[in-house]
Symmetry: C2
Subunit: 420 residues, 2 copies
């Protein structure tokens, strides 16, 4: 019989003070050892993953799902390299973010400490097991990993390697715990442990996120959709705008920072849109447009309201001609998902209006939506992208897995000094 979620969480929490207290050097050494173990145990990990791939193939799963699931020597090497990269990140724990001496002489500092116990709930990408464990560990946290059942054998082999490295480093193995109970009830139980779990991070499709958000009594950082927009302003450099469009829509359409909607200022639509639609068509992108778009490119299909709200995650794009910047902003406010928006413009005022009027996590001026990624934005690594305007917003790195607390040093100051 497998351990209950409460037992696993209690064991992880018992390990938390030791992990929180580690020096940066000790964490880095342990992470490098984890990377070494992943490489040393590659044959076992690849064999375990092959079982998962075989089962998924026998079950007739879609090719792109099997591709996400599959490990090979190169992908496993990349996972180990990712763990080494995390070891090279700045350690957020112990960072003093503010310091002030108050008029009464007490010295108030704000210092980053780990969040505590993080529950990662994810689908069938075995790399998340190592990525999330490494990032949580670098930020001084302990982690419960609940991966998808389809990736279970590979996940277990990866977790075993990570725990071997913990043990060899003299650290409690419970700091990185893979949940082996694959019943849905175990996730539900985990999400109720509000006295033990500091944060749940679901990572996967929208239905997983909604399931977690719906049932959680623990705090959740959510990442719903990436309905990312490119707005081509009247003053845009058309070549630059086309480059952003092609990069954002076609280089990896299945990811959340891919473009889903193109908005074009009416003044440049007649010159920009036909060429852009032609370029998209050449790359296999299906275009669905508004009436004004179709007047310019009659072969384009009509876009519905649902198309403007859609996260296609595919070679499909919705296009709309707008009267001006204000209409573009109104469109994004109505249909957007607060993930990433881009403006192509040579007009600084238009850029600042666009940035100021939208509350999306990432706003780009003349840069591709595909940069909306922890690595590209300089976080070193990312555990997810928050579209919740709380705690962290946008790509989350190690720092987002810590919290600032207050440390006060005095010389006996009291709030109400006794009357002599």
């Amino acid at each position: 019989m497998s351990a209950s979620m409460r037992e696993l969480a209690l064991a992880a929490r018992a390990a938390a003070p030791a992990i929180a207290a580690l020096s940066s050097a000790a964490k880095r050494a342990a992470l490098l050892r984890m990377a070494d173990e992943l490489e040393r145990q590659a044959p076992a990990i690849l064999a375990a993953n092959a079982l998962d791939v075989d089962a998924a193939t026998a079950a007739g799963r879609a090719a792109h799902l099997i591709d996400r699931l599959r490990l090979d020597p190169a992908r496993l090497a990349a996972i180990a390299a990712g763990v080494r990269a995390v070891a090279g990140l700045p350690d957020p724990v112990g960072q003093v973010t503010r310091e002030e001496t108050r008029p009464n002489g007490i010295r108030v500092t704000r210092v980053r400490i780990p969040l505590g116990l993080i529950a990662m709930i994810y689908e069938a990408r075995p790399n998340v097991t190592a990525d999330a464990a490494a990032l949580c560990f670098m930020a001084g946290n302990v982690v419960l990993l609940r991966g998808g059942s389809e990736a279970f054998n590979g996940n277990r082999a990866i977790a075993a390697a990570l725990r071997d490295a913990l043990r060899a480093s003299g650290l409690p193995e419970a700091a990185i715990t893979l949940i082996e109970d694959l019943r849905r009830e175990s996730v539900l139980e985990l999400l109720q442990l509000s006295d033990l779990v500091d944060l749940a991070i679901p990572r996967g499709g929208e239905s997983l996120i909604r399931f977690v958000a719906e049932h959680a009594r623990v705090p959740v950082i959510k990442h719903y959709q990436g309905v990312c927009h490119l707005y081509v302003d009247a003053s845009a450099d058309p070549e630059l705008a086309l480059r952003l469009l092609i990069d954002g829509k076609t280089t990896r359409p299945a990811v959340c920072n891919a473009l889903e909607t193109l908005l074009v200022h009416a003044a440049v639509a007649p010159t920009f849109l036909p060429a852009a639609i032609h370029a998209l068509g050449e790359r296999g992108v299906e275009v669905r447009g508004c009436e004004r778009t179709r007047a310019l490119s009659p072969a384009v299909a009509a876009a519905t309201d649902a198309d403007y709200a859609a996260e296609f995650l595919d070679l499909v794009i919705a296009v709309r001609v707008v009267d001006d910047l204000e209409q573009a902003i109104a469109h994004i406010r109505r249909y957007g998902s607060d993930h990433t928006e881009v403006i192509a413009t040579r007009d600084d005022d238009a850029a600042e209006t666009f940035v100021g009027a939208l509350r999306s996590a990432v706003v780009m001026v003349n840069a591709s939506s595909r940069f909306s990624d922890g690595g590209e934005l300089g976080l070193g690594a990312e555990i997810g992208i928050s579209t919740t305007r709380l705690h962290a917003y946008g790509p989350m790195g190690a720092e987002a897995l810590t919290i600032e607390r207050f440390v006060v040093r005095g010389a006996g100051q009291v709030r109400h000094p006794p009357v002599p």
Copy 2:
């Protein structure tokens, strides 16, 4: 018939972009106008509050509850002064917290933006209506205020004054909305609006917090208990320790940063404790102690396990003699509420061990627990104290009502440059 919670939230959200876009100067001017209106409308506010006080008196409510409810000219002047103080705070919105140019030339900045729509759910303190509204407004947010039914008439008069000031400033009144539907169902409805409400902040007794946490589908920042500890180390200056004890326990026992438990190192217990217990007794504090405490002061009642976990909020203190620093830390980890802990010591190593081993929101070295307060710690004002290790931890000021997002400025960079 009163408007539904969804209608009120939609109206508030419609006002959000205008408030988020305000300059610091415009926000300050509007806040000063709010303070003026509170003073100008003082007769109406005091008359409305008197209705609440009369009803509570007729209902036989406890004297301390009626005292919290009651406004008088001095208290109302203090509320107006609080709003003026918020107008003088640094504006967190637009602050650039980080700036980096990536190797590909894109400039990545992190900029504070408002959270959006905040729902304050609180009990019978009418001052919260003005305090919370002012702080949310300064941070560029719109707010739905759901105060306790007992304070309703006073809250409505205060909200009317604040909205008059908004209107006179040319701003949408929906930015500060008092919910007039006092049924419990309206709170439940509000807590389900996950597409509209960015954050709920319950402020009041533990049962209110648990009710909100239990039913919320929107993010909640929780403040449960303040079971604050003072640990008197072997090396403590006894006079300093006694001063912290008296200030922490007796100056305002009903607040969350009051001390609830005293831990004393065994080496100094024989000299420190009898005098400390005598001083507490002189001030009317009931002491409940462990066996070793009672061996030193036989008149002391025996402490139970429940006493060590209790937030007395009264002139009662639990006392325990511990073998050493480690036992003090273990005690606080077991019984503490992660709010505020204090060490009295002359040993820097002991202080650092104490700070490092505990994950409480505020840790004090030789300073009173009563400084665990937004004003005292330099935040200028506070909307609450978070004991959840997410988003904000400890006293929350205006900055905690904002979030950092990414703004990227480029010159047409793409992630996958086309092969020439």
